[in-house]
């Protein structure tokens, strides 16, 4: 199996400078510094790398959007990893922090950035020391700081801990939070590439995205692009959780059948139960029923199946589960995490919660399902940011595929009663 990010992830002391360097770490810098920054951007474009944080936006293209000749510019590494089910960035930062630093140096060189931030979710309060130590070592080695490797290029990296809000993983809310403002998304345009942190051009990339960059610089864009499907290049970390025998992070080449991920890599369903459903890209994407398990794991195939690859978190649900219950749990997450800025999300998430809760108390009315679908329609794509849509996903998809789970609650409920 092709492994890029996880090639030697479990090697002892990989997190140390010594071992990382022995494994060829920081070699990409020399190669990069021999090129013009634009050449690196071109290489990343050619590699076909897409953002691994959720939206899958082509990384090289994003870098090329930075407002011309406006300085300072900033790099923000999105290490908020708040999407339920996702835990890949944590493993990367814990076991291989230097690959992130190296990726950030390369990105900064390519984008002419001199200050980088790693925005980590509040719960990473231990990990931040780990990351901090690695940064310190990189300074000591001259990979960070002034005049790096005698090139005249400077870079400082700082870590920052969030305060526990899912929305701060959304890039513009992240910027607000980093600036000390309220954690709410910002209006776009202006996009961060034009006016981001402190109103300056800013690159925001996910941890995993940045960790891929050293590979692309070392091995060449072509090699990276030779992996995966036509439009989904390279490999992706998948965080498999839920009812599997071996939950964990796995690196797969994009285009791998989902069946292989669940049954081979993750060892199949616990207690050899039957698969009921799976959420392929983190809690924000629509779930699929078991019969779709042969869909390929890449951006286009998942989109064709009506869902998304998202952050790459595969939540597996076996047939012991009542989908209404899981849906309520998911709604409750979004209700709790709604920042409250916009009406459909603030009110809609709570209303959906109230309705599903009532259904589960056997007090629902038959028209509740229709009403939920309509509320979802009123929320979907009408809110300020995608969080509202994320709440809609599990509701609409659970009704679509598991309507009977809902209807079971109405069995004893006469029409019109409360």
């Amino acid at each position: 199996m092709t492994q890029i990010l996880f090639k030697n992830i479990n090697m002892k002391d990989l997190h140390t400078m010594k071992v990382y360097e022995e494994q060829g770490g920081y070699q990409a810098l020399k190669k990069a510094f021999a090129q013009k920054p634009e050449e690196i951007v071109e290489a990343v474009k050619a590699s076909g790398l897409r953002g691994r944080g959720g939206a899958g936006f082509p990384t090289g293209l994003k870098w090329s959007f930075l407002a011309k000749d406006v300085f300072p510019r900033y790099l923000c590494c999105n290490a908020d990893e708040s999407e339920p089910g996702t835990c890949k960035d944590r493993e990367l930062m814990l076991k291989n922090p230097h690959s992130l630093i190296e990726g950030m140096i390369l990105c900064s060189y390519a984008c002419r950035v001199e200050i980088g931030y790693i925005y980590m979710r509040g719960e990473f309060h231990d990990l931040i020391f780990n990351m901090g130590k690695a940064i310190e070592d990189a300074y000591a080695k001259g990979y960070l700081g002034k005049n790096i490797q005698g090139t005249g290029f400077n870079l400082d990296i700082y870590t920052h801990l969030g305060a526990g809000a899912y929305i701060c993983g959304e890039e513009s809310a992240l910027l607000n939070s980093l600036e000390g403002e309220r954690g709410e998304p910002r209006m776009k345009p202006p996009f961060p590439a034009v006016e981001g942190l402190y109103a300056k051009p800013t690159v925001i990339n996910n941890v995993e995205t940045l960790c891929v960059i050293p590979y692309i610089v070392n091995e060449g864009a072509e090699k990276y692009a030779s992996m995966g499907t036509e439009k989904s290049k390279g490999t992706k970390l998948v965080s498999v959780s839920g009812h599997v025998k071996k939950p964990g992070n796995y690196e797969v080449v994009l285009g791998t059948p989902i069946r292989e991920i669940i049954y081979d890599l993750a060892g199949g369903i616990r207690d050899d139960n039957n698969l009921k459903a799976f959420i392929p890209g983190g809690s924000s994407v629509p779930m699929l029923p078991a019969d779709q398990v042969d869909v390929l794991y890449d951006y286009e195939s998942l989109a064709a199946a009506g869902t998304m690859l998202g952050s790459g978190a595969m939540i597996v649900i076996d047939d012991t589960v009542n989908i209404v219950e899981s849906t309520l749990r998911l709604i409750s997450f979004y209700m709790h995490e709604s920042c409250g800025k916009c009406t459909p999300c603030r009110e809609g998430t709570r209303w959906l919660y109230q309705i599903v809760e009532k259904i589960m108390q056997n007090k629902g009315q038959l028209d509740y399902i229709e009403k939920m679908e309509d509320i979802c329609d009123n929320m979907n794509m009408k809110a300020f940011c995608p969080l509202a849509d994320a709440c809609v996903s599990p509701v609409v998809s659970s009704i679509k595929y598991f309507r009977s789970d809902y209807e079971a609650y109405f069995k004893n409920t006469p029409v019109g009663s409360v």
């Binding site: 309220r182 209006m187 800025k341 459909p344 009110e347 998430t349 009532k358 009123n378 794509m381 409360v418």
Partner: protein, 833 residues
């Protein structure tokens, strides 16, 4: 169509608007209504409420019209099924937990939530759960109460706080469903512009504590009028019911207030129903004053009798002792019509030029353009001289902040004290208290040297400004391209104001320079009072008294053409027994004039003191005869704001009492002038005929938004050589600073704004404090003239060493009494008790 315009189609109508216009505003141009809650054109886009969703061709999802800039050839649709469904959906969400207590809600009848629901909302709700309950009445400050249940979390108010008043006093707390509007640490929301959030709240969440539950909005009679508290002349709506003033709201006028008013404008109106209001003419049995031999209002005399008696008495004294023996002290707060008529009375009927309205020096007109306040937004540089807009002209403060933060304007200041706006300035240059003339000259000389104009090789005297700082300021001014100089004549001692004018002339000489100025005295109608000739040396329109031809032509053969006495000179002459009779209109010299108890003593010596005022004051107490003045709320006429804009003040309340202009008309008639003005506008029309600069002013041109007057003649002034200044007779130089919420006759103890009143405070420089053994919080005594004043010391470097700044905190504090009667810089003795 220029490059800066965009043409698009909205509901089939083509519209061309400037680039950067939001779709929602473009729609308004073609009468397409896109409903909004959070969007406010002055605050900018937020995107919170989602009420403004529209369909845009080629865009996959609905877009918020308030956040989207127009784009060429964009096709916008606002009435499609998709849009209508979305609007219903958003309104259903908005109303989901709204209490719908419209029957008792202050906003009812003028509520965007009601209106939008009526027009775009679902017929019914599908909400089957109990609505969330929330606190119904939480005070945010003594004047604002929030009903958190009604709040739809649109964030208009918090965005206003962040973007307009710019201090984030009001913020969103908590998140999601539990977010709410509040303040950090539950501190009161006490910003001086706080009340605007009541106007902009699209529901009845932010309520005016004073107005709460007092009246239904549709029962109010709304009068479009002006605020009478300061020279901004903000446009307001007075809502009255059964002849009682219920509330004041902002009435947006971009050329004047940009849509905002300050809290003094909103809540400082208790005086209209004050117990201290003077409502009848009366005769005082003068306590301690000189008994007058003059006749005297019969018991239950009518206002006609009273006016006639006063006029005849003045005539008699003028005949006996000469016209120099009578004088008039008017007011920079009253209307142009009243001022115009009074000067006419004194000049035409009594032959006296002893006319003034202030205790500082100033002359009408400017040697450069008189900029309207909106020019601040397009100026590259705004230079403040001795001006503190935040305290003096609050809404000007908002305009300057807007210019600096949104329009790329640079703010620089030349001041003797630190001010709140320093935070926004690129350079704040501070001169020593009392050295304004030197400092202004230094700037002018610096500029003159750059321009090759004659200037002394060395600047005179000590201002405490480093040469480097002054050079930087000179350079900023010189290279500004378009500069607006904002100066406060009432904070300039001696003849410093004429030095400002010389400076303006020099600035205007810089090649390609656009230069204008705003004479920013805090008083409501300071510009108008000068334009109307309430001056000993100028007739209306800036015509000098020496311009005999012009004066005879306009004002008749008997009109006096020699300079009269200034207000301070009149007091001095009264003291000497040479001035016999004085008429004081809407002014309180006993408290407001320099000279301490000398003023009252001087007034007591008069044979006749007539005071025409609306509230009882220390001066009405000394008067022989008192005439009632109606004052704001009841009066009508025009005022001219700091930007030279003439606007109509209207009456919102009825009174049986004759208006001031009528009373003055009666006096004129009693002395033989036959003009019989039927209404105040007849006076306005006469002003248009007789006052240069006011030719265009008429009922029609005033309209709703007022009309800029043309420039008033400005004379070349000769600037005297710097005098060494009066001898030192104290240890520090005094600067009396204006404070907006001064506890006085207008904001009396019953005022809603009493929580803003400040204790008597003396701001000292650290060095001086150390020398004098004074520590922060100590009680100190300040003495000068024969006045001693107690204050709490605040050691904070508000001014340079050698000065002390005392904000005018109240009438009883008596700080003006400390200032020298000659209007020059004042020394005070400061010591610890």
């Amino acid at each position: 169509m220029s490059d800066n315009e965009v043409t698009l189609t909205i509901d089939g109508k083509s519209v061309t608007v400037p680039k950067g216009t939001k779709v929602v505003d473009a729609a308004r141009e073609v009468d397409v209504d896109i409903p909004v809650f959070c969007y406010h054109e002055k605050i900018g886009a937020l995107g919170c409420c989602r009420m403004c969703l529209v369909e845009v061709e080629k865009m996959p999802k609905l877009m918020t019209a308030c956040t989207m800039d127009v784009m060429p050839d964009m096709v916008v649709k606002t009435t499609t099924d998709k849009v209508e469904k979305a609007q219903k959906g958003v309104l259903e969400f908005t109303l989901l937990n709204h209490p719908l207590d419209c029957p008792v809600c202050d906003k009812g009848g003028e509520c965007p939530l009601q209106d939008n629901t009526f027009k775009y909302g679902p017929p019914d709700t599908r909400m089957e759960f109990h609505r969330a309950n929330n606190a119904k009445a939480t005070p945010l400050s003594p004047v604002i109460t929030i009903d958190r249940e009604r709040c739809i979390a649109c964030q208009r108010c918090t965005a206003y706080s962040e973007r307009i008043e710019q201090d984030q006093g009001l913020v969103m707390l908590n998140r999601g469903f539990y977010n709410e509007v509040g303040t950090f640490n539950n501190e009161p929301y006490n910003n001086r512009f706080s009340g605007n959030v009541i106007d902009i709240c699209p529901v009845g969440a932010l309520t005016n504590t004073d107005f709460r539950f007092k009246a239904r909005t549709w029962d109010l009679t709304n009068t479009e009028t002006l605020c009478a508290h300061c020279g901004c002349n903000c446009n307001i709506t007075m809502g009255t019911r059964l002849n009682e003033l219920m509330r004041i709201e902002a009435r947006p006028n971009d050329a004047v207030d940009d849509g905002w008013i300050c809290d003094k404008g909103r809540w400082g109106h208790q005086f209209v129903h004050s117990k201290n209001k003077i409502i009848t003419a009366r005769e005082n049995s003068v306590g301690g004053g000189k008994p007058t031999s003059f006749p005297v209002f019969p018991h239950d005399c009518t206002i006609q009798d009273a006016a006639g008696k006063v006029a005849e008495a003045f005539k008699k004294i003028a005949e006996e002792h000469g016209p120099e023996s009578v004088g008039f002290i008017g007011s920079p707060y009253t209307t142009n019509e009243e001022n115009y008529l009074y000067q006419k009375l004194f000049r035409q009927s009594l032959g006296s030029n002893n006319i003034d309205h202030k205790s500082y020096q100033d002359t009408p007109g400017l040697p450069v353009d008189h900029y309207g306040v909106e020019q601040i937004e397009t100026a590259n540089v705004v230079l403040l001289i001795a001006s503190d807009p935040t305290e003096e002209l609050p809404v000007l403060d908002l305009r300057i902040k807007k210019a600096v933060t949104n329009c790329g304007t640079r703010l620089v200041s030349l001041n003797d004290q630190t001010i709140a706006l320093d935070k926004y300035s690129s350079q704040s240059v501070q001169y020593r208290v009392g050295s304004e003339a030197l400092a202004i000259d230094a700037l002018a000389n610096g500029l003159a040297r750059e321009l090759g104009e004659p200037a002394p090789a060395k600047d005179a005297g000590q201002t405490g400004i480093s040469a480097e700082d002054m050079n930087t300021l000179v350079e900023t001014v010189r290279s500004s391209m378009k500069i607006c100089v904002v100066y406060n004549p009432s904070a300039l001692s001696g003849d410093a104001v004429s030095r400002v004018k010389r400076l303006l002339k020099l600035i205007a000489k810089v090649p390609t320079m656009e230069c204008g100025a705003i004479p920013a005295a805090p008083m409501t109608n300071a510009v108008g009072a000068m334009d109307m000739g309430l001056l000993p040396d100028f007739y209306p329109g800036g015509v000098p008294v020496t311009n005999q031809d012009e004066i005879k032509k306009q004002w008749g053969e008997n009109a006096p053409t020699t300079k009269g006495l200034s207000a301070l000179e009149m007091i001095a002459r009264a003291e000497a027994g040479e001035l016999k009779a004085l008429l004081v209109h809407r002014s309180n010299p006993v408290i407001d004039f320099p000279g301490g108890s000398r003023v009252a003593d001087a007034l007591r010596k008069l044979d006749l003191l007539v005071v025409h005022d609306m509230l009882e004051t220390e001066t009405t107490e000394l008067a022989h005869l008192v005439l009632p003045s109606n004052g704001p709320g009841y009066d009508e006429g025009t005022t001219t704001n700091i930007g030279g804009r003439v606007q109509a003040r209207k009456k919102a309340l009825e009174t049986a009492q004759a208006p001031d202009w009528k009373i003055i008309n009666l006096m004129l008639n009693a002395l033989g002038d036959e003009t019989d003005y039927q209404k105040v506008l007849d006076v306005t029309d006469e002003i248009a005929q007789k006052v240069p600069g006011y030719q265009e002013i008429s009922r029609k041109s005033l309209g709703k938004a007022g009309c800029d007057r043309a420039p008033v003649t400005s004379v070349d002034e000769t600037v005297a050589e710097q005098s060494a200044g009066s001898g030192k007779n104290g240890n520090l130089r005094l600067r009396v600073a204006t404070s907006l919420f001064s506890h006085d006759k207008i904001l009396d103890a019953s005022s809603r704004l009493a929580h803003h009143f400040l204790p008597s405070t003396a701001h000292l420089n650290e060095k001086d404090a150390k020398k004098l053994g004074i520590r922060d919080g100590d009680t100190v005594l300040l003495s000068a003239q024969d006045v001693t004043l107690e204050a709490t010391a605040s050691v904070n470097n508000r001014c340079q060493s050698g000065g002390v700044v005392v904000p005018r905190a109240s009438d009883w504090q008596g700080v003006n009494g400390l200032t020298g009667a000659d209007g020059g810089p004042t020394w005070v003795e400061v010591r610890k008790v």
